[in-house]
C-alpha cells in the first residue's frame, strides 16, 4: 500500500476518510488536511489545497502533507500514525483496492513479490474492519489479500460479513491459493458469510504437479488447489485462474491453457501475468526471470487457444512494446497507479496512455525490447 509523510500532532494512530475536498484541482506543492466539521464523524477529513487558502494563524489545526506528489480525493481512506506515517488504505480511483489480512503464507512461491513472514501477530483485522466501515455503501469492488488470507480464517469470515453489511453491492475478490478450500466445509462457511458477490482468484502455475509444486515450494499444492477450485465450483462461486510467467513454466503456456479450459471450463476469467521483480522474485531472479521477448510466441499461442474457446482472458504486467499488436486488446493496465512508472525509453511513445507501464522494481530488470512505439499498424 502506498505511504507518504504528514506533519501531525495526533497522539495515536487513527483511520480517516476524506469526506470533502475544498479544491477542484490538485496543485503541486504543500497541501493540507483538516478535520471536517461538516461531517459528524470525527474520522472525517477535509482535503484542502495549498497554504494560500489557510489563514496563517490557523495552521496549527491542520495536518500538512509532506509529500508533494500526493493527491487525495473524496472517498480515499488513510491511516495516520503519530510518527507522521500515513498509509493510503483505499483509493477511490484505483481498480486494485484491497484489505490486507496477514503477512503469513502457506506457500513459498519462488517469484513472490513479497517476503512472507511467519510472525504470529496478525493485527490486520481491526484495520480492515475499520476501513470497510468507512467505505461508501455503493462501493463496487474490494479485494482481500495477504500473504494467504485463508490462514487467518476467522478474520476472513469476519471481513466477508463486514463487507456484506457495509458494501453489499461490491464484488469481493479474494486472492488465495485455495489449498485450504480442499475441505468443502470451508467453502460452505465462506459462502454463508458472503453476499453472493465473491470472486476467488487462484494462481495455478503449470498444467502438471511437478512444475507447479516446484514453483510454490510445497509438494501436493497443485492437487490441493485443484480440489479447492472444484469445491468452489460446486457452490457456484466464480473462479478466476491466474498464472505468473517465469523461466520455470513459460514452456507450458499453450498446454496450460488447454488444461485450464478442459479442467475448469467454468472459469470466469483467466489472467496471464508478468512477474514483479521484488521480494523473493528479486532474490531468485536468475531462477525465475525470463525476458518476455523470449516467450512471446508461446504467449501468443496460449492466447489463441483460450480465445478460440471463448474464454475471458487478460494479459497483465506486460508493456505494449513487448507484445505483438494482435495481443494488445488483451493487455490490461494492471499495475496500481501509484506503483507504476515509465522509463526514459518510453518518452514520446504513441501508445503510452494505453500501456500499463512498469513496476517500480522493474528498474532491477526489464525486457530488452522496451522502446517507444512510433507507429501503430492499422487493423486489417
Amino acid at each position: 500500500m502506498r505511504s507518504f509523510k504528514v506533519s501531525t500532532n495526533i497522539n495515536h494512530a487513527n483511520i480517516f476518510k476524506i469526506a470533502s475536498c475544498c479544491v477542484d484541482t490538485y496543485e503541486e506543492g504543500e497541501n493540507f488536511l483538516s478535520q471536517d466539521y461538516n461531517h459528524s464523524s470525527c474520522s472525517s477529513l477535509m482535503f484542502l489545497g495549498s497554504k494560500e487558502v489557510i489563514p496563517e494563524d490557523k495552521k496549527s489545526l491542520f495536518l500538512k502533507l509532506d509529500d508533494p506528489d500526493v493527491a487525495l480525493k473524496v472517498g480515499d481512506i488513510i491511516l495516520i500514525e503519530p510518527t507522521g506515517l500515513a498509509t493510503l488504505l483505499y483509493e477511490v480511483n484505483s481498480f486494485s483496492n484491497a484489505v490486507f489480512l496477514t503477512e503469513r503464507c502457506n506457500c513459498k512461491c519462488l517469484m513472490c513479490p513479497q517476503v512472507p513472514k511467519n510472525s504470529d501477530s496478525d493485527d490486520y483485522l481491526d484495520l480492515s474492519l475499520k476501513t470497510i466501515a468507512l467505505l461508501d455503501s455503493r462501493t463496487e469492488m474490494l479485494g482481500i489479500t495477504g500473504g494467504e488470507p485463508t490462514l487467518v480464517w476467522n478474520d476472513l469470515i469476519d471481513v466477508l460479513k463486514a463487507c456484506r453489511e457495509n458494501i453489499p453491492k461490491a464484488s469481493i475478490q479474494l486472492l488465495t491459493n485455495a489449498r485450504i478450500l480442499k475441505d468443502i466445509e470451508r467453502v460452505r462457511e465462506l459462502v454463508s458469510a458472503d453476499n453472493n458477490n465473491l470472486v476467488v482468484c487462484i494462481p495455478l502455475y503449470a498444467d502438471v504437479s511437478s512444475i507447479h509444486d516446484e514453483i510454490v515450494g510445497i509438494k501436493g499444492a497443485f492437487w490441493e488447489t485443484i480440489e479447492g477450485i472444484y469445491n468452489l465450483e460446486r457452490f457456484g462461486v466464480p473462479v478466476e485462474i491466474r498464472t505468473v510467467i517465469t523461466k520455470l513454466n513459460y514452456k507450458r503456456l499453450p498446454l496450460w491453457s488447454e488444461f485450464v479450459y478442459r479442467s475448469f471450463p467454468f472459469t470466469s476469467h483467466i489472467a496471464l501475468m508478468g512477474m514483479e521483480p521484488l521480494g523473493l522474485a528479486l532474490k531468485n531472479l536468475n531462477q525465475v526471470w525470463i525476458d518476455p521477448l523470449d516467450y512471446i510466441p508461446l504467449l501468443k499461442n496460449a492466447v489463441k487457444i483460450l480465445n478460440r474457446r471463448n474464454m475471458n482472458l487478460s494479459i497483465y504486467n506486460h508493456q505494449l512494446c513487448t507484445l505483438p499488436q494482435s495481443l494488445w486488446k488483451f493487455a490490461k493496465k494492471s499495475i496500481s497507479e501509484w506503483k507504476n512508472v515509465f522509463f526514459t525509453e518510453c518518452a514520446y511513445c504513441v501508445v503510452r496512455l494505453n500501456c500499463g507501464g512498469f513496476f517500480q522494481s522493474s528498474e532491477y530488470v526489464k525486457s530488452r525490447g522496451i522502446k517507444r512505439i512510433v507507429q501503430v499498424n492499422k487493423e486489417t
Binding site: D207, V208, S209, S210, I211, G220, F222, W223, I226, E227, Y230, R252, L255, W256, E258, F259, Y261, R262, S263, P265, K300, V303, K304, N307, R308, R309, N310, S326, L327
Partner: protein
C-alpha cells in the same frame, strides 16, 4: 518395484509413424511411435528427460502422483461427458400425420397419400396424452419435433399440441422448444405466421440444385419440387429470420460426387449450415438401393473433399458450417456433452428421444417405427400413451435391456476402438442389419462411416494448422472467424 507411473484409461491406434491416444474423457494426443513404446514400457529415460512424459500427464494419459485426486477430477469430467443421461428424454417427436403430399424416392417414413382419411392423423386426444407423457420427463429442456408424413397436412393438431403444451407447462416450468420437420411445399402465410409467433423452428430437406433435388424429392404425380421449395424457403427465411431455418441433405448417388454444388446452392439461398446425411438403407431407399445407393468409401472420399471446400469458404470470409462435423468436433475438442441421440453410448434411442406414432404408440427411434410399418415387428415399441404410464414405458425391462446392450464400452470392436469416447451406437440399425442390438462392429457400414469421418477430422487436427483450428472453433462456438483469429 514400484512403477514410476500408472496408466489412466485410454485407447490408442497407430497412424503411420505416430500413435493417437484418446482417454476416457475425450482428451487426445499424438505421440511418436518410439516415444509411445517407451511410454508403454515405463522406460526410465522417458520419465527423466522427456517432455512427452509431462505432456501425457497434462493430457491425463498417465498419473505419477496424487492418483486419488486425479480420479476425483476425472470422475467429474466423465460425469460431464455423460450429462445427457441425467437429462433423460428431452427430444419428443410427434408423427402428427402419416399422410404426405410427396413421394420421395428414399422415404423411410412410410408415408401415405394425402387424400387418405383421418385414420392416418394423430387425434387431439392422442396428442394430449403424448404431451402429458413428454412433460413427465425429468429433463428441464423439452424439444417437441413435429414429423410425419408432412406435418403441415395436420396443422390443426400441430397448433393444438403447441397450445396444450404451453398450458400444461405452466406448472412444470420446463424450457420448451418446438421444431417442425416439413418439406415446405404447401406452407402458406398463415402457417408461417403461426410458426413465427410461437417460435417454432423449421427444419427442411433440400438435396441440392434443381437437377439433383428433383431426382428424388417429387410429388406423388412425379413432378419436381425444387422451384416451389426455393420460393417458400426464401419467404420463410425472410419472415422468420435465417437463424430459425435449417436444412439437411440426404446424399444419394446423384449427389455424392457433386457435394460442392450442393453447398454452393445452400449458400446462394442464404443458408449458413448444412447437415450432410448419408442415405440409410431403410424403407423405400432399400428398395431402390441400386439406383440411389453408394459405398461408404465413396461417401467418405467425397465428404472429405466437400469439407476441404467448406473450410476454404470459411477462410475466405463466408461463415458456413457442416453440422455433423461440428457435432463430432465438439465432442473431440470440448469437455462438454452433446445431445445427438443417434450416436451415443449408451444409445440415445428411448432415453434421449422417443417418437409417438399417430395412434399413440411410443417407439425408441424413427427407424423403429419404420420397422414396425415394414413388417409389423414391434420389438422396439415401448407401449402406447393410452394404455401405459410413464413408468411402464420408460422404466420397462425392454428399454433397460436395449440400453445395456448398446453400451459400446462393452461391445467387441468398440471396446478397444480409439474413437470410443466420441462415438456411439444405433441399436435399431444393428437389429435391422444384423439381427442383434450390439451389431458387428468393424463390419458394419455404420462403424466404417464413423471411423472414416473421425480419421478425416483427426487428419486435420494432426496438422496443427492455425487457420483450420480457427475455423473449427468458429463452428463449435458459433462465432465468426474474425472474432476468433488473432
Amino acid at each position: 518395484m514400484t512403477k514410476p507411473y500408472r496408466f489412466l484409461p485410454f485407447r490408442f491406434e497407430r497412424k503411420d509413424n505416430k500413435v493417437l491416444l484418446v482417454n476416457d474423457v475425450g482428451d487426445y494426443c499424438f505421440l511418436d511411435k518410439d516415444q509411445f513404446h517407451k511410454f508403454i514400457k515405463m522406460d526410465e529415460e522417458f520419465v527423466r528427460q522427456s517432455e512427452d512424459f509431462i505432456n501425457l500427464q497434462s493430457k491425463f494419459m498417465l498419473s505419477s502422483d496424487c492418483l486419488s485426486q486425479t480420479l476425483d477430477l476425472l470422475s467429474t469430467r466423465y460425469r460431464t461427458k455423460k450429462q445427457f443421461l441425467y437429462d433423460f428424454t428431452s427430444l419428443h417427436m410427434f408423427v402428427v400425420t402419416q399422410r404426405c403430399n410427396l413421394k420421395c424416392a428414399y422415404c423411410h417414413a412410410s408415408s401415405v397419400d394425402e387424400a387418405c382419411g383421418k385414420d392416418y392423423d394423430m387425434s387431439v386426444h392422442t396428442a394430449h396424452k403424448c404431451v402429458n407423457l413428454a412433460l413427465s420427463s425429468p429433463s428441464k429442456h423439452i424439444k417437441i419435433e413435429f414429423q410425419g408424413g408432412e406435418p403441415l397436412l395436420n396443422f390443426d393438431t400441430v397448433k393444438e399440441i403447441v397450445e396444450y403444451a404451453k398450458e400444461a407447462n405452466k406448472i412444470r416450468n420446463k424450457h420448451l422448444e418446438f421444431v417442425i420437420c416439413t418439406n415446405l411445399t404447401i406452407i402458406d402465410e398463415h402457417q408461417i405466421d403461426y410458426l413465427k409467433q410461437n417460435n417454432i423452428c423449421v427444419s427442411t430437406s433440400l438435396d441440392g440444385p434443381l437437377d439433383i433435388h428433383d431426382k428424388c424429392r417429387r410429388t406423388r404425380v412425379g413432378s419436381g419440387t425444387y422451384s416451389t421449395i426455393k420460393e417458400k424457403l426464401s419467404c420463410v427465411m425472410e419472415i422468420m429470420g435465417h437463424d430459425k431455418v435449417s436444412s439437411l441433405v440426404t446424399v444419394t448417388s446423384f449427389s455424392v460426387d457433386r457435394l460442392r454444388e450442393v453447398v454452393d446452392e445452400y449458400i446462394q439461398l442464404g443458408l449458413s449450415s448444412i447437415f450432410l446425411r448419408a442415405i440409410n438403407p431403410y424403407g423405400r431407399a432399400s428398395k431402390y438401393w441400386k439406383n440411389l445407393g453408394y459405398t461408404i468409401e465413396e461417401f467418405v472420399v467425397n465428404y472429405k473433399l466437400v469439407l476441404d471446400y467448406i473450410i476454404h469458404l470459411n477462410l475466405s470470409g463466408i461463415y458456413f458450417t457442416e453440422e455433423f462435423a461440428t457435432l463430432l468436433l465438439t465432442r473431440i475438442l470440448t469437455p462438454f456433452p452433446t445431445g445427438f441421440v443417434d450416436l451415443q453410448s449408451p444409445t440415445g434411442a428411448g432415453i434421449g428421444g422417443v417418437i409417438y406414432e399417430t395412434n399413440g404408440d411410443v417407439y425408441i427411434a424413427d427407424e423403429a417405427r419404420m420397422l414396425s410399418k415394414m413388417n409389423g415387428n414391434k420389438i422396439f415399441c415401448l407401449g402406447n400413451v393410452h394404455s401405459h404410464s410413464w413408468e411402464a414405458i420408460f422404466c420397462c425391462d425392454k428399454l433397460k435391456g436395449i440400453i445395456e446392450e448398446s453400451c459400446i464400452e462393452a461391445t467387441p470392436g468398440c471396446a478397444w476402438c480409439v474413437y470410443q469416447t466420441y462415438c456411439g451406437s444405433d441399436p435399431v440399425r444393428n437389429y435391422i442389419q444384423f439381427g442383434n442390438i450390439s451389431g458387428h462392429g468393424m463390419r458394419s457400414d455404420f462403424c466404417r462411416k464413423h471411423r472414416s469421418i473421425f480419421n478425416i477430422l483427426f487428419g486435420y487436427l494432426q496438422q496443427n494448422n492455425d487457420n483450420i483450428e480457427d475455423v473449427f472453433w468458429s463452428w463449435i462456438s458459433s462465432r465468426r472467424l474474425s472474432e476468433i483469429s488473432i
